[in-house]
Symmetry: C2
Subunit: 349 residues, 2 copies
Amino acid sequence: MAKESACIGDLKRVADILNDGENFLLTCHIRPDGDAIGSMLGLGLALEEAGRTVRYFSQDPVPRFLEFLPGSSRIEDSFDEDFVSDAVLVILDCNEPSRIGEQADRLLEIAKHVVVLDHHLGENKHCEQRELNGAGNCEGYICTEASSTSIIVLDLLELLNWPIGKDSATALYTGIVTDTGSFRNSNTNKKAFLTAARLLEAGVDNYYVANKIYQSVPRKRLELLGLVLKTLEVHEQGLFAMIHVTPKMFEITGTTEEDASDFISYARCIDTVEVAAFVKEFQPGVVSVSLRSKHLVNCAEIARHFGGGGHFHAAGFRTAGSAHEIRESVIEVVHDYFENHGSQGVSGV
Amino acid sequence: MAKESACIGDLKRVADILNDGENFLLTCHIRPDGDAIGSMLGLGLALEEAGRTVRYFSQDPVPRFLEFLPGSSRIEDSFDEDFVSDAVLVILDCNEPSRIGEQADRLLEIAKHVVVLDHHLGENKHCEQRELNGAGNCEGYICTEASSTSIIVLDLLELLNWPIGKDSATALYTGIVTDTGSFRNSNTNKKAFLTAARLLEAGVDNYYVANKIYQSVPRKRLELLGLVLKTLEVHEQGLFAMIHVTPKMFEITGTTEEDASDFISYARCIDTVEVAAFVKEFQPGVVSVSLRSKHLVNCAEIARHFGGGGHFHAAGFRTAGSAHEIRESVIEVVHDYFENHGSQGVSGV
């Protein structure tokens, strides 16, 4: 079960701002995932149902696998400044301006009101920046014990006593499913299950959503997976697994970086493995590396050796080089990590 | 959401038999899965907690990935006839004697009482056989609206007002997770989510269970997957996908049939696919074929062409031949199926 921790902010005050508002611009973090898009559409469609005017902004496009969500085609990559200056800006699923992208400063400067809803660890940097600008009117609710921001949105809608339509519920359910890895990740808790049950009551066709998320894989992704699995190597007495992808493999299969997303889970899922790396040379000479661990290995510490960062169980970095060169460096750095921490410090079972 | 349907039998009468019993033999179906083992251990450990004497019988061994369940090492492949003749036989997760295996007739003949708990479609053939034998004393509860037999067991324990310990809850949670495919299958409903929440309350470490089920893959299984994905072929304008495995691939990777379990999901998950086949030549000249569909394709009808059978969305057959020969036959039969049913009859979206 996820560890319990306090929530920062007052959901009732957020509810009051939503209730009083007329115009809303909803936004989320760059490279949006299922919870970013799901919480944004879930809240937005409910606001519209309650008679408000809502627009949606995301710097980066909606990923292909989320295009089935009603309303997703209305998410724009630009915004009207006049509209925003008379609107409540609702920032979902991130608590730091840089995560909104290049337009963050402008948005935080001109919006009439700002509301932040998030479940990531961190302080509410959006409101700090508003204070520095002297703009104020900023309210946040950041709750790390929530498995996803979509769960916070449902709490908010229930506090407002607003009806939750099928489309809104479908978006929120998608946020929960994707952020919990279909109820498998360590953040999956009792509240996640109870919220899922509540959303099915609101009309979600959960089998339809599951098929859209997990049964809509392009054939070429599987062909790429076949090539990548052939690169599997295991080091450190089975504790460390690594796979890699080269520009040649993308070329042979006609795929792009998006098709390789989450391949690291195939390296991480090996029974003996505590930490896994996926080395992606997605352009010739440009490599990005993902690191994932199960229990006691600190991925962020390994990533920092290469100028990267992230969380304890998930981190990464980008660097120049070929997949083969970077592979060798990662093997060395992970080896040193294991030397420094000893076998007690890396195995959680 | 799963369609609602009536339950057959009276759970209260089952509860009374359990409450009155002293000795219990619990059994499940051959080639046991997570719900067979999970519901058996979940009920058994709670019976023991309530002071009863419990033994466990399964013709086939506990699959490797379920060996983490407390009590799993106590499941035996034989039983003591004297014990059974003074015991309540509880049959879990199947409603037909042949599914228990070769000892079914003997067990149904000598047990003092018989109780059947199941969620599969079908009549209670166990009790029919008891009637024919003149033995009687047979009570069943078969509930197809339950996502798993483990959910029925929890209902039963709550009806009895017996405490649900962490080990029992962990077994039941495992049954739900595996039978719903981690809450993705079409049988996943509101009750499944509410029951999961209830079991977390009883102390289940759901991240531990998820890691044991989904993050404990032998390395050689991934190596086999890499080889099998190279065999991927797609026919019928993308609607039909097929993969196969040969004895040579098992040999190269040092794997057995168990390591290839569920590979068909990789063929089925392709966006354009409505039906998928996995052709397994697991011994030279002996082939088993799995068929899975998403919406409107009747796998059982295709399997019957080869003397097999099964459900609408999941069926299969065994036959003599090489993987390459059977591949060709399956392509032909699926082609004929598509010809006969037309494009409206095969695509569900």
